[in-house]
Symmetry: C2
Subunit: 631 residues, 2 copies
């Protein structure tokens, strides 16, 4: 009798790794997937200290190499984004129901902090519409802004502090993984829904003027329509330009808001608009940010609102800030460390809350303008910050003539750009479930509320994620003739099954949530296969499970494998495992299940398994015939 043919390829049954080793490896993969200290590893201690400082405070890295040539670019970009920051700051502050000057303050301190700690070269710091509205909506639930502005404002600052703390904590704990659960689809829907409610709110505000005087009404509505048309035009152009990648023309969109404000101011000033009932921003006092530490309010009576607003706004602003930073870094083939970004955004919000700023992040629009204006480093944020300081010190009163309708127009123009029809259509065309996730956010935000819409969408995305693992795909493999390859028979119709064998490829981890399914599915494969082959007369004798796609398995999964083995054995079928990966094989050895399955039933390749099985069949046939001969 010849020796078994399986001797060539041997499965490695080395002793399983210790718990400590596994824990370290898993923690590293979970929390430090980018191996942030790889540059420091092989350096002497003094260099390590410098590298460490450069790692945690990126300005140490780029400032020493900074030169005049770079400054030219950053100066231009910085001034451009400052011209955007002024109108947007005032507008979004109005969305958050806080005094407009807070919006200007918020573009002074946070950009400086970001320039020190941020790792993105293109991110432009500023306030964002969605979070402004979200904070307002949640805090208005506790305190009415028009009734008690000081209390309302103090809660907004407190919410900003909580946002900053949450963001910094997430970064320090390296929990960027939480932000990963806000998918592009969710963000697209959320932004679109937010844009819709903001636009409706603005329109309502514009048309609400009707009840004051008929005269004002005509003027303001006409102005509104005029501005809107202009703005919608700009936005359309802007949107299409950005998509067609013609960065030269972005200037039009970059300066449009500033032009709107200036034209509005001049009109209001010379026409004495306030006398005709056109509402203007009103008094803006000179001077830079006052301290707001004494305003932070931890009164247990109100604290739930700022905590809720802070946590939700923290997640959304992180998702926006990190996503936009990453997108532009990828265009330039650079890399962004998400966790470092979180710390930078968190710190700027913490310091912001101490200096009369409210929530800031890296808005899509402003960052795009910054990028297109040619910024080279975070210095553009410093330039913007200096521009804002000069504005606050000298020019602030000039902006007090800005008509509110101009602000509405600016907000609406920005909002219309956030409704991404193309993306939604693309989702619809390519992935219906992603489209549902997007629509859940869109309609949830539009018709219920911002936080519920967001949670609906994230919940749906999580359900999808859980379905992925609760119903892992299994497929039957067949031999593609003349190639020796075993592939999915559905995908490759010319792949044929092998008589007597059923070869199944399992995917995804096997564990408690899917083990019942896996068992049922495998038994169903056997049933189906039998009903097909029964007419041809060749029974299945071996069930080959290709485990190469299974990365891990838990106790329940191991028990399931043993159950499957028992079930098929009762039907006279032998279960064979092919190519179990490290984690799976280790778990089989630790639980001693490998002794039940037997090492002789585990093979490295499908060919080996089939050869060995045929060999054993022949042997048993041989023995049978021998026995017959003896009889």
């Amino acid at each position: 009798m010849t020796s078994s043919p399986q001797s060539l390829h041997r499965v490695n049954y080395a002793a399983p790794r210790s718990f400590g080793t596994l824990l370290k490896a898993n923690l590293k993969e979970t929390l430090f997937p980018d191996d942030p200290f790889h540059e420091i590893k092989n350096e002497p201690i003094s260099r390590r200290f410098l590298k460490g400082a450069q790692y945690f405070v990126p300005i140490f890295e780029w400032l020493p190499k900074y030169n005049f040539k770079l400054l030219k670019y950053d100066l231009l970009a910085g001034i451009t984004i400052a011209s955007l920051a002024i109108p947007q700051g005032i507008s979004y502050a109005k969305l958050a129901n806080i005094p407009p000057i807070i919006g200007l303050y918020s573009s002074f301190v946070p950009p400086l902090i970001y320039a020190v700690f941020g790792s993105s070269k293109h991110l432009a710091v500023g306030t964002v519409a969605a979070c402004s509205l979200l904070i307002a909506a949640i805090i208005e639930g506790k305190v009415n802004a028009s009734d008690n502005m000081p209390l309302y404002l103090s809660l907004v600052f407190t919410a900003t502090l909580f946002s900053g703390l949450v963001q910094t904590a997430l970064g320090l704990l390296r929990l960027g993984i939480l932000v990963d659960f806000l998918s592009h689809s969710t963000i697209t829907g959320f932004m679109g829904g937010t844009a819709i409610i903001i636009c409706l709110q603005q329109l309502k505000g514009m048309l609400g003027l009707k009840h004051f005087t008929t005269h004002t009404d005509v003027v303001s509505v006409l102005r509104a329509i005029f501005h809107n048309r202009k703005e919608i035009m700009y936005t359309r152009k802007n949107a299409s330009l950005q998509k067609n990648k013609k960065p030269k023309l972005f200037w039009v969109s970059a300066i449009a808001p500033m032009v709107t404000v200036i034209v509005g101011c001049l009109f209001a000033y010379f026409a004495h608009a306030e006398k005709h009932g056109i509402q203007i921003v009103g008094h803006l006092s000179k001077g830079i940010n006052p301290s707001s530490i004494h305003l932070l309010n931890f009164d247990p009576k109100y604290i739930s609102a700022p905590i809720k607003a802070g946590v939700i706004a923290a997640m959304i602003s992180l998702a926006e800030g990190i996503a936009i930073g990453r997108s532009f870094a990828i265009i330039r083939n650079e890399q962004i460390d998400g966790n470092k970004e979180m710390i930078a955004i968190g710190l700027m919000n913490i310091f912001g809350s101490f200096t009369s700023c409210y929530l800031t992040t890296g808005p899509f629009s402003k960052t795009a303008v910054n990028f297109n204006a040619g910024c080279k480093t975070a210095m553009s944020n410093v330039v913007m910050s200096i521009c804002m300081m000069l504005t606050l010190l000298f020019l602030a009163p000039l902006f007090s003539y800005t008509p509110l309708v101009s602000l509405s127009a600016i907000i609406m123009s920005a909002m219309l750009g956030l409704i991404d029809y193309d993306k939604a259509y693309h989702l619809f065309k390519t992935d219906k479930f992603d489209f549902c996730i997007c629509m859940a956010a869109f309609f949830g935000v539009s018709f219920i509320s911002m936080d519920i819409g967001l949670m609906l969408s994230v919940g749906l995305a999580l359900i999808r994620a859980l379905l992925y693992i609760a119903r892992p795909a299994t497929c039957k493999l067949g031999l593609i003739s003349e190639t020796g390859l075993y592939r999915d028979v559905e995908q490759y119709p010319d792949a044929n099954g092998i008589a007597g064998f059923l070869i199944l490829k399992l995917g995804s981890p096997i564990y408690f949530a899917n083990c019942n399914y896996v068992r049922e599915r495998i038994l169903r494969w056997i049933r189906d296969e039998r009903s097909h082959t029964i007419s041809k007369g060749n029974e299945i004798e071996f069930l080959l499970l290709e485990l190469g796609g299974i990365t891990s398995i838990d106790i329940t999964g191991v028990e399931t494998l043993l159950e499957i083995r028992r079930c098929v054995q009762a039907k006279g079928i032998k279960m064979i495992l092919v190519n179990p990966r490290l984690g799976v094989l280790e778990k089989l050895m630790v639980t001693e299940s490998i002794d039940t399955i037997t090492k002789e039933s585990v093979f490295l390749t499908i060919e080996d398994a089939i050869d060995a099985c045929r060999f054993s069949l022949k042997c048993s046939d041989h023995i049978k015939t021998e026995n017959l001969a003896i009889v």
Copy 2:
């Protein structure tokens, strides 16, 4: 110039399946993984109707074939479980703070319903300690049982109705998948924690008697200790017996509770125990279940408690009932349809709530006794039901002398058997995370509350599930010399990398929650590989991604693949995809990303990819040298 060598193995680019086909396939896998109607498919319509009726009402299937021989077995088993049902019914009713007679009622109607609709042959219907306590704990939060028993009782019936409705609905909607998320580890911890609090509660009750009279105290505590010792002894024996698979001796444990009750009754009756202050069960009226439809209470003031109790108890009792049914079916190589079981358990609770029964399911202990007593079909439940009816009609008053301490002893003995040290130790030894999930349930239930403990544990299990998919394992493949096999270099240390190539095997679906990780991880592989190979002078020129383990991908995942391609291209590396599965390839085609990646960069095997890449390298070298020659 020769033609490219890749012509042999061709990737199949057939047109993607339509949305309808995909939806149908996915729905089927999600909701009908066991293909329940496979037997009906190829039958004529009349047979289909019969088969359908047999499918939905299993009694139609087994009753016509029933014979006297089977009845003998079922009679014995039925009487045995009835002798268990009487003491357990009274005891658990006490746990739920409801009159003991309800416990007896609950073993009369539900078993009859289950016998008609249930598909398990071994499941014995009865009340369970954990759910009794859970219902009591939640409803006590609204109404105090001792203050207003009629209201309390009506809410318990209402909770039972809700449980039944939830269970039936889950079964009809084929959402057995929800029960899958209660893992063995969670159940083990939950049962253990419940056992601990029930034991403490019983002990407190026993020792609480101290404050009545000193005389009673000694008697009752001694009795309690006596009973406990006896019972603990029984339980130990019982547990070890069940594990050692010696079913002959299970009788000891099966009749122990009944013996305890009878001895207790005789003692209480002849010693006139109630005069000495030993509390007894008290009056039990003759007669079978009265209707309780008029007692169902949907008062909005209280409704939240029965809904909450109903839903949580429904899930736990389903998990217990289905798990135990499956375990015994597997021993006998039969199959249990989880969804059908849900409908059966749900219907028996709905009818139960109409006939003065509270929540029932298939308890572990009782089902084990039923199995060991040799039951053959669900007829054993009918026998038990008839025994209960006779008891209710004629014997009920006899049990009114049962001393409460006997009940405590019975409860504690059953509870101690639920603390599964061995399982916990096994979990600790083999899977630390599963152990944590188990301990979360155990300590959560012991120290916080039953529902919070359960949710903590399920939450932890879900986080683990999400981590599985958020951090999919990737590994580097190398060629095991002389075999032509590409395997994980960590698992097979004799597998060697190939100069110029980095071959990575990805696992699990790629989608929004893990795409950032996947990108970072791949870039880190490249970085690590470069730092290793840079000394040897051979740069990576090709990145091969083995996608055979990836079962699906979403839009974000596709975008990530394109980003990875862009990133590595900037480093002068070409990205090659190997063996994409059906779902992945379809998504690449639908999104038209395949045109960016190019079909020339997708191969069916690693060998093909390497051959083709080497060929193209040679060609370009050839062209270079030709160009040099021309120059």
